[in-house]
């Protein structure tokens, strides 16, 4: 590592004692995955945050990726499947090869923004070096749906729910918390991030109440009215914010700013 790279590592808040080897020190070849984000590391290198099917989130250094004509650059695009090869066992692995696999339509317009949002959720909520194969497949399906002009809100809600399930906060949308009483469409509920739904008494009026219909529709992923779709969005936001623990989502903020233009 040269001095400039050490400096950048330091600036990126990633310096510190050398990582105790959590991951085994071996080479991995042709692992299917995606680039979630890249940022500059040195004059010529990038840090690539990848999400692979078999190894989860793996951060890597792509040496020389910023040089003009680097073969890596075309392959290191988000939202396209890539075959990654890497070596090393430290906090930052060395990317040895990235091959474009293709086969997804690519994102454009608002769908592209949804893609950035999914990537930020993965970066902020998923621990490194934990495989989440089911979530990976869900991510890939979401990209495919977004690229094919799928209805964005439905795709996002489905992915958010799967992500929460994978990190240990599966939603119970069919029954009241700690009980076998089924949620009814006509009921009014309040949803506690860790416990689940509780039916409201007639006299109760909390800041954010949710209809039984919304809970049931969130479970099936099919929304009958704009109101239930909006409530589902607000509920997922509440639950994600709880997991984010005060950290803001930059994509959400910027999307709001763009809508105001």
């Amino acid at each position: 590592m040269d001095l400039a790279e050490a400096n950048n590592l330091e600036a990126a808040g990633m310096a510190g004692p050398p990582a105790k080897s959590r991951a085994p020190a071996r080479r991995h070849e042709h692992q299917r995955g995606y680039v979630l984000h890249t940022y500059p590391y040195s004059e010529t290198s990038l840090i690539v945050e990848t999400y692979t099917r078999e190894h989860g989130r793996v951060p890597m250094v792509a040496k020389g990726a910023k040089r003009p004509g680097s073969a890596l650059r075309g392959a290191l695009m988000q939202f396209q499947p890539v075959a990654f090869s890497w070596s090393g066992k430290n906090d930052l692995r060395s990317l040895t090869q990235a091959e474009w696999i293709g086969g997804l339509p690519g994102l454009a317009g608002d769908a592209l923004f949804c893609g950035f949002y999914l990537n930020e959720l993965l970066l902020k909520l998923l621990a490194r070096d934990d495989a989440h194969e089911r979530l990976f497949d869900c991510y890939e399906a979401a990209l495919l749906a977004l690229g094919g002009g799928g209805e964005e809100a439905g795709v996002l809600r489905g992915f958010e729910r799967e992500l929460l399930r994978e990190i240990g906060y599966a939603l119970n949308l069919t029954h009241e918390a700690d009980s076998s009483i089924a949620i009814v469409a006509e009921g009014r509920y309040v949803y506690h991030p860790e416990r689940g739904a509780r039916r409201l008494e007639a006299r109760e009026h909390p800041d954010f109440e949710i209809s039984g219909r919304t809970l049931l529709e969130l479970d099936t992923g099919v929304y009958s009215t704009p109101q239930t779709a909006m409530q589902a969005k607000l509920l997922m936001r509440l639950l994600l914010n709880h997991q984010l623990n005060g950290r803001a989502l930059a994509t959400r903020q910027i999307f709001t700013e763009l809508q105001q233009l």
Partner: protein
């Protein structure tokens, strides 16, 4: 550490890629081994900060109100090309095929880095494109996802105001043999194929 030294270290950390340790190294170096250089740096920074600002029309760096390019009478005032950086503008100039004017965003939308519309002067661009002379805005942001997102939002904004917008074409490079073109580029070229 002395107050002034601490202040200098804090200031140096403002530079991209400079952490606390390297900022301290730089400060020690300047004060111990290169006082003349330190003085030069201080004067150059002071001068640049007070003299250099954004061109009122194209947003690039200039020491005048309006830069030389925007003042050039020979240019076609109906065409406005939007680029991310002054370096990109230079590349387009070197093609010798574009005779219009420019708008330099000085960046691109990058949601995950928190770079939004305010950081790339979109309001100034809209005002510039609506001057009554511009009839076509050519979007020449990069073909990265961030560049595409930037192009998309600019395009939506301008079209809503009745301004015609075009996007740089992409595809196989000049002299490119298909066998050696990367598959991503080839896929795009297929998607963007045109009638002959």
């Amino acid at each position: 550490m002395s107050k002034s030294l601490e202040f200098l270290t804090e200031a140096l950390r403002r530079l991209p890629g400079v952490g606390p340790k390297s900022a301290q190294r730089m400060a020690f170096h300047l004060l111990q081994h290169d006082r003349e250089g330190a003085d030069m740096l201080s004067r150059a920074l002071h001068q640049a900060v007070s003299a250099v600002h954004h061109c009122a029309l194209c947003n690039t760096f200039t020491e005048e109100d309006v830069c030389d390019t925007c003042n050039d009478e020979q240019r076609d005032r109906r065409l406005l090309c939007v680029v991310e950086t002054p370096a990109d503008q230079l590349m387009i100039e070197q093609t010798l095929t574009y005779k219009g004017l420019y708008f330099v965003l000085m960046g691109r939308l990058s949601p995950l880095d928190g770079i939004g519309p305010k950081d790339i002067h979109l309001e100034k661009l809209v005002a510039r494109a609506a001057d009554g002379l511009v009839t076509e805005v050519v979007l020449a942001t990069n073909f990265t996802n961030e560049g595409e997102a930037t192009a998309h939002y600019i395009s939506e904004m301008l079209k809503a105001r009745g301004i015609a917008v075009s996007r740089l074409a992409r595809g196989v490079p000049v002299g490119g043999e298909l066998e050696y073109v990367d598959p991503g580029t080839l896929a795009q070229a297929l998607q963007d194929r045109r009638d002959t």
